[in-house]
């Protein structure tokens, strides 16, 4: 797995606050998991204010991705293996 930016992604929210990302995931995704900062998604430690909500819809992973100059994006990537890995390893399923 390479850098997140090299994967085929869709941007759901751009320049969003961490609260907006959390609310979107909790409202729109069929299942979500709350994780702590540092939890790895696509081999990269996730950045954010805990709890960070990660959404799953089948094989689609919805997660926040923060860049210092551009703020936080809420991204979606279709990846069966990563979705299953999150289901196996994320600490708490919320929905």
């Amino acid at each position: 797995m390479g850098c997140v930016e090299s994967l085929k992604y869709e941007i759901i929210l751009r320049g969003a606050s961490f609260k907006e990302c959390r609310e979107y995931v909790r409202t729109h995704c069929s299942e979500y998991y709350d994780v702590q900062p540092g939890f790895h998604i696509f081999e990269k430690a996730v950045i954010g204010v805990p709890p960070i909500s990660i959404g799953l819809d089948g094989d689609t992973v919805t997660f926040p991705y923060t860049k210092p100059c551009y703020g936080t994006f809420l991204m979606q990537i279709d990846d069966h293996d990563e979705a299953e890995r999150i289901r196996r390893t994320a600490p708490r399923k919320k929905k």
Binding site: S17, F18, P37, A45, G48, V49, T66, P68, Y70
Partner: protein, 160 residues
């Protein structure tokens, strides 16, 4: 190096944000210089642009020392490969808050949030996790932030 009792050899990391606010690099170098005077070794973490600003401003590394990539810094903390004695997180936007929260959650220690820029009040109000805040409006002129750091740094180095 005069140093402060108990600080010799300790390390502080200065986590820089995007360098779009002019005071960031000058304050980072100022803070690094003052930490050195107290016997604390500064390490700078930032994205490429923030690192280059620090490197070009201090070509002989009088003030800075080790300068590391921001992603590597986070990965090392998450993997428990590296720890520091002090964490100064530079914040002028929402991303800065996310990085500060991440460092606080990964380390469990009290981080120092250095909050500046046009929206410093909103940024300070957004922070709900425990930390020490140094917050002042400073965009082009570094003096208000310099004064705050002068006031707070002795306490930070002695108490955190």
């Amino acid at each position: 190096m005069s140093g402060v009792k108990g600080t010799a050899g300790k390390q502080a990391v200065l986590v820089l944000g995007c360098p779009q606010v002019p005071v960031q690099t000058s304050i980072a170098l100022y803070l690094a210089a003052h930490l050195r005077k107290k016997g604390v070794i500064p390490v700078i973490a930032g994205n490429r642009a923030a690192r280059l600003n620090a490197e070009v401003s201090d070509p002989d590394r009088h003030y800075t020392g080790e300068i590391i990539d921001l992603d590597r810094f986070i990965e090392d903390l998450a993997a428990d490969r590296r720890k520091y004695d002090y964490y100064f997180i530079f914040i002028h936007n929402d991303a800065g808050i996310s990085y500060a929260a991440t460092v606080q959650a990964l380390t469990g220690v009290t981080v120092v949030a250095v909050i500046y820029g046009e929206h410093f009040k909103e940024m300070a109000a957004e922070i709900e996790f425990p930390c020490e805040k140094i917050a002042v409006k400073a965009v082009h002129n570094p003096m208000p932030l310099k004064k705050k750091i002068d006031e707070v740094l002795p306490w930070v180095v002695s108490n955190l």
